[in-house]
Subunit: 339 residues, 3 copies
């Protein structure tokens, strides 16, 4: 559990500029609205600036520009969200994951499990799978044959790695995620679908995080790859043979079709879709619910879709849109006629 | 199992106006097309009115306005769908859920389980979790530490509550749902992502229903909250610190980003998305697959997206749409030139 | 494991026209880029034709028109993707699924399991459920009461069939899929939602494949039905009482609302949505992320949504779109005024 510490100790440890009493005792973190007199809060999103005036926190982590508005002590940082993340980590209750294998787990005799790893209740571990030191598998994880789980990886609970999945060090996978299921490979042949064998694997780099109920298919022939520090939210679908560059983040419910290449440091908004076989450059941002239907060669921000309207206006505008081509043609003809 | 009863008994129990033989024996329910001579059917959606003429049911629950078209007996109600729901509930086969803990379940010694609760095969219950009287956990449920499961709650099977999740009375959760996983909190810091600790919980009010493979993240600092009687279909994603007002219903595959506030009695269509930090008033309806990109202050119906067309017309109109701004500017210039 | 064989044997077995040395020994398959000197590759998608020149594979399966560009041996086929699928299947490592029931499985005494079926660790099988010869249930599958699993069906791992689900012969279901959960039936009644009992089942025809974390709800009264050879990718949602015709394929993240009828040989693009109670004819293709908001009576290709643009252009065009109706009205008035 968290141990009380002082504001001065926290400022020093994280290199923050303290304006306030260094002896103030701190025992937790909270929101601008909810933090109490011994908690630290933060202001990063300008939308919440108005809440600062009524904040009762011991101190607020914020930018220099917001310091004057702080009602109490201030911890100044150029990146208040990151500074707050570090401070908050001090107060996370540590869950005990004692080394060893729960008696209800079913472990293949050909699996190799480091004695420092934790294997929870009702886990199932397949042949030739290797589990590295410090790895934690919460209850109900199913790890098929020929997988590798890296050092200090955390599979929270009920994660499935089907086969040939390799997780790097410190990877976190949330419940319900399925990695290494067959990609969607089907060929039409004389009026029936023929299943195309999926023989590749999945390779997840170090420090990646995979959200709840996200699915990442194994490659058809080569592997599906996430480079280091890729962050996937919940319910994302990654097709076979996709490659995602380091430090790219995908928000919830994004769907990436097969053989897509996404660059480094991209930000893909929630519910966006990327059609198959496309390439996306580094440092590309995609708006929520956009469909990427062609490759993107230049970094920048891209969008598709239309703006929200009240349904009556929307219906009128959409009726016009369905005749837009015709309207533009007639306008050109009319203009010529009046010229 | 269902016990035969008469049409008259059913009409009386549910306060329906019977036009037909009260002695008719009833042993089940069915569709307008499929119901047999001892079953009750219903007509609520006008799209199915044409099927009424050929219906062979013992009786049809319908509005007074449709009564004349009923070929047999009629049970008249101002709300036929609700009346039918009540009648159908009489004929649901009851599944036996005997009290007690299946020997294969792994229960933490610090958990508190009421003796009347049912804990199915391969369940896992964490420390300090409390399970109230009458609660049913089907097979394969994983309940982490510090959770509360309310009176008569039903977790059908394979539900995961990660940590600090509180379910109200009579809550129903369908298989594959994950409640209380970490929200998607990441801060960019010197070229790498830093995980922002997620310390809050999830609070689900009484009488809520959560669909299969739906995910509800725990709050970052405060809790994620569903008020009473909220209904979520399958594969919905609810981000951290969302609050959903009582009696609101979300259809399948809706994605709600973090810190969104949705009012009471809202209806969110399937596949719709709601961007982060927005507020939506009470009594708002959103069309399927719309993106809510700004707060909605007034009750009403809203939409985005375009209408379905054959692909050739769609391509022509979209080519025009991409030059719409340019076209409007030129039109203005042309008009001025001719004025 | 795969046994080496010769190019000539492969050409003969699959009826391919070989241009090259029939004695060449083959031990696997690979991509145009990755295949080594004893592997077979293929060219089906013209986008990858440029890779042919540098391919080091023993032979490439391709169309006659591409044969001249092959640097080595060629196996000519009118349908190279299907031919390759058949060849690749020769080299799939067979996973052992010995007949019998894992000691950790929980099997209801009223269930009937063929002795040749494989029931993996931590499975749970409900009352009156029947499992046919050759069926394989990987670890963690939960099969509720009154289900039927067909001959040689493969439930990879952690599949849930809630109740009254019937799978045909050779059906494949990937991890996390949930079949037979309650459909989303709710009726508003005096300010509260009333649950409408869901009494139907799910019927899956022969040779269907169901992707990871896909959900298929049971019918309200009648069944939800997939005819033979329907192929569903990951994270698809199928509402209650949907019927999907034979040989239709749905890409990832499609959402089909309740009571929709989809024809045979349809192709539904990723992330598309289909509104409730609609009918779609045979041989219809839908673009990715389109919303089908009316029934489709004629085979063909359909789309909705707008094209991806850089965000600045997109914003300008969308601002114009929101005033399109007004603009068109004014244009008409202006034209009349100048006539």
């Amino acid at each position: 559990m968290s141990q009380p510490r002082t504001l001065g100790q926290i400022a020093e440890r994280y290199g923050l500029d303290l304006h306030g009493d260094p002896e103030l005792s701190i025992d937790g973190v909270g929101t601008l609205r909810g933090a109490g007199a011994s908690q630290i809060s933060f202001l990063a999103n300008p939308a919440y600036r108005a809440q600062l005036a009524h904040c009762r926190a011991a101190a607020v982590v914020l930018r220099e520009a917001d310091r004057a508005a702080a009602p109490g002590a201030a911890l100044v940082s150029a990146n208040p969200y990151a500074a707050f993340a570090r401070i908050a980590a001090e107060f996370v209750p540590r869950q005990a994951h004692p080394p060893g294998i729960h008696p209800s787990a079913a472990v293949d005799p050909e699996a190799t499990i480091d004695p420092s790893a934790h294997i929870g209740a009702h886990c199932s571990i397949g042949a030739r799978t290797q589990i590295a030191p410090g790895a934690v598998l919460g209850p109900g994880c199913i790890i098929g044959p020929d997988c590798v789980i890296g050092v200090d990886a955390l599979l929270v609970a009920r994660v499935t790695l089907v086969t040939r999945v390799r997780l790097g060090a410190r990877v976190i996978v949330h419940p319900g995620a399925v990695l290494g299921a067959d990609g969607f490979g089907i060929a039409m042949d004389q009026g029936r679908w023929l299943k195309v064998p999926q023989l590749g694997g999945v390779v997840i780099g170090d420090d990646c995080e995979i959200g709840a109920n996200t699915t990442i298919d194994r490659g058809a022939l080569d592997d599906t790859v996430l480079e280091d520090d890729v962050r996937l939210d919940n319910q994302i679908q990654i097709g076979h043979n996709v490659r995602i560059g380091a430090h790219t983040a995908l928000a919830g419910c994004v769907a990436v079709a097969g053989s897509v290449q996404i660059g480094r440091y991209c930000l893909i908004g929630g519910g966006a879709g990327i059609a198959g076989h496309l390439s996306i450059a580094d440092h590309v941002s995609i708006h929520a619910m956009s469909l990427v239907s062609h490759s993107i060669r230049t970094s920048g921000t891209y969008a598709s879709g239309t703006a929200l309207e009240d349904a009556a206006s929307w219906r009128r505008n959409m009726a016009r849109l369905r005749r837009l081509d015709q309207f533009v043609r007639r306008s050109g003809a009319a203009r010529k006629a009046t010229e």
